[in-house]
């Protein structure tokens, strides 16, 4: 089995072996060193310093699900990047948002996107939403060794289930444990504040725009209490990334749409810094 296809010219046997439709399985057979979880880590003392992404939130609404993330990456007490993108389309009907070590997470998303596309091309049909969520689980499990050295990746996966015709959210833990969330979910360092906010703001029958407003409010609250989460940066025009998944597929809100929502929230917060109030009883 030849690793370099150009050295013999002919496609190596591994390429023509019938079998798995999974690109990760193929990589594992043919070029295991390219799999993110397959690299031996040198023993290190303490955690490795690398940029970390922070808060991701998701909310279902009547016609689908909204997935959003702030734009900050931190390294210790330093803001490593102000405009990092942490929410990506996984395929036509699903998206993934990542919290944790940015470098590894971005590589994982790239491989995950390819895994779904590869299956689609080889099989001629798409994976079920559960199937996609399980593949992501496997990838996170493969990263456990790194996670134990402080390089964890904890994503949030959201998609439109074509068969059940509804938006669904899956959250993960660092060991790859997967659980389906009802209504709303958050991950990352600011997630507990965001989840607290969403608990009060979530409505089952909300519209897409209301759901987008709710996730922005939640990110605003997370940024308020968690130093690693960035709020909307009105001066630099850096706003959270908001995406939605509906029966029309993946959509990313344009900068103008998000800016309008973010400014409206900001205006209200100048009068009520703690955001909208929920009824007591």
């Amino acid at each position: 089995m030849e690793a370099n296809t150009r050295s013999t010219g002919r496609l190596p046997a591994a390429f023509l072996t019938p079998g798995s439709s999974s690109f990760m399985d193929f990589l594992g057979d043919h070029s295991p060193e390219l799999l993110p979880g397959n690299r031996p880590l040198p023993p290190v003392q303490g955690a490795i310093e690398a940029p970390h992404g922070t808060t991701i939130v998701a909310v279902t609404f009547s016609g689908g699900v909204v997935l959003a993330g702030d734009r900050r990456a931190t390294m210790g007490n330093v803001i490593a990047q102000r405009d990092i993108e942490k929410v990506f389309p996984a395929d036509e009907f699903s998206a993934v948002g990542i919290a944790g070590t940015a470098g590894i997470a971005v590589e994982m998303v790239k491989l995950f996107q390819l895994e779904l596309e590869h299956f689609e091309k080889v099989e001629g049909t798409v994976l079920s939403l559960e199937g996609k969520a399980n593949r992501l689980s496997t990838m996170i499990r493969g990263n456990l060794g790194m996670a134990m050295q402080g390089l964890a990746v904890v994503p949030l996966f959201a998609g439109w289930d074509v068969d059940r015709e509804k938006g669904r959210i899956f959250s993960y833990d660092v060991t790859g444990g997967r659980s389906e969330e009802r209504g709303f979910a958050a991950t990352g360092s600011g997630s507990m504040f965001a989840r607290g906010a969403l608990k009060k703001l979530y409505r089952e029958d909300s519209t897409e725009e209301q759901a987008a407003t709710a996730v922005l409010q939640a990110l605003y609250d997370a940024a308020d209490d968690d130093s690693a989460t960035g709020g909307p940066d009105l001066a630099r025009r850096i706003y959270p990334i908001i995406t939605s998944l509906t029966e029309d597929g993946f959509k990313r809100f344009s900068e103008d749409e998000v800016s309008e929502l973010a400014r409206a929230i900001h205006e209200r917060r100048l009068e009520e810094p703690d955001g909208p109030r929920a009824a007591l009883l």
């Binding site: 010219g9 496609l11 591994a14 023509l16 690109f23 070029s31 390219l34 390819l114 091309k121 080889v122």
Partner: protein, 255 residues
């Protein structure tokens, strides 16, 4: 132990070529045509499950005739090659030329290796460019040669006759409906010069459409859209417009 008969290398190769050609000629043909907005693939294929035309990568598609298990194997090999290359370098670094070379080497090695039976397949690898002049179409016969094609190409049984029919009638800048009708006309002619009529159900049609907003330009033309494009007299803007308007709705259901 008996001594095998001496067979001259020329004779051995000629026998193998003959074997492969006969296998390919048994199957129905596939035609590939350039049109204004891309490249259209048309195959006579009553099966909805076993495809003769498939997506390889963002701008690259694959069409094949011959033995299904052999070209399916090559197709999956090509998808793996393209995905691995795009993952290692960048999506832009996956080209039809590179893929065609790998296929040619693979087919050539198999063809000349006495230990393996030659593949009874003929492939087409096509890549849609930014403009019609950047489109690339490669034809890969069973023996590992590569032919750089322009305009139109046919492979499979009766390919020579279909090719000459297409060569005479194909022109640059055809609309999708025009190109599709020409392709179906050419496929409807059988060996004896007679005509059969082909319906939408018997056709597998796909396009590499450079105007698609998505990065993946491959799209199957199915059902209602295909029937509309095939309607006689609908040569012009109507069918084209309906093809475009149904783009969004059908792009979800494509496989």
């Amino acid at each position: 132990m008996t001594t095998p008969f001496y067979v001259s290398p020329q004779q051995a190769m000629a026998d193998r070529a003959e074997y492969a050609r006969k296998g390919i000629a048994r199957g129905r043909s596939v035609v590939v045509l350039q049109y204004a907005d891309g490249i259209v693939f048309v195959a006579e294929n009553p099966s909805r499950a076993l495809h003769k035309v498939s997506e390889i990568y963002d701008r690259i598609a694959f069409a094949a005739v011959g033995k299904y298990n052999e070209f399916e194997n090559l197709r999956i090999g090509g998808v793996r090659y393209a995905d691995l290359r795009g993952y290692t370098y960048d999506r832009e670094d996956v080209t039809a030329r590179g893929l065609a070379n790998v296929y040619a080497q693979t087919l050539g090695t198999i063809f000349s290796s006495a230990a393996e039976k030659p593949y009874e397949v003929e492939l087409i690898v096509a890549e849609v460019g930014e403009g019609p002049e950047d489109d690339q179409i490669y034809r890969l016969p069973h023996d590992g040669s590569i032919v750089d094609e322009h305009g139109s190409v046919a492979v499979g049984g009766n390919a020579d006759q279909i090719s000459s029919y297409l060569d005479q009638r194909h022109r640059d800048g055809m609309t999708l409906a025009e190109a599709l009708k020409l392709a179906v006309d050419s496929l409807s002619r059988d060996n004896n010069g007679g005509e059969r009529s082909l319906t939408a159900e018997q056709l597998e049609v796909a396009v590499l459409d450079r105007t698609r907003p998505q990065k993946r330009k491959f799209k199957r033309v199915l059902g209602g859209q295909l029937s509309r494009l095939l309607e006689p007299g609908e040569g012009g803007a109507d069918a084209e417009a309906s093809a475009e308007s149904s783009e969004e709705s059908s792009s979800e259901s494509e496989d």
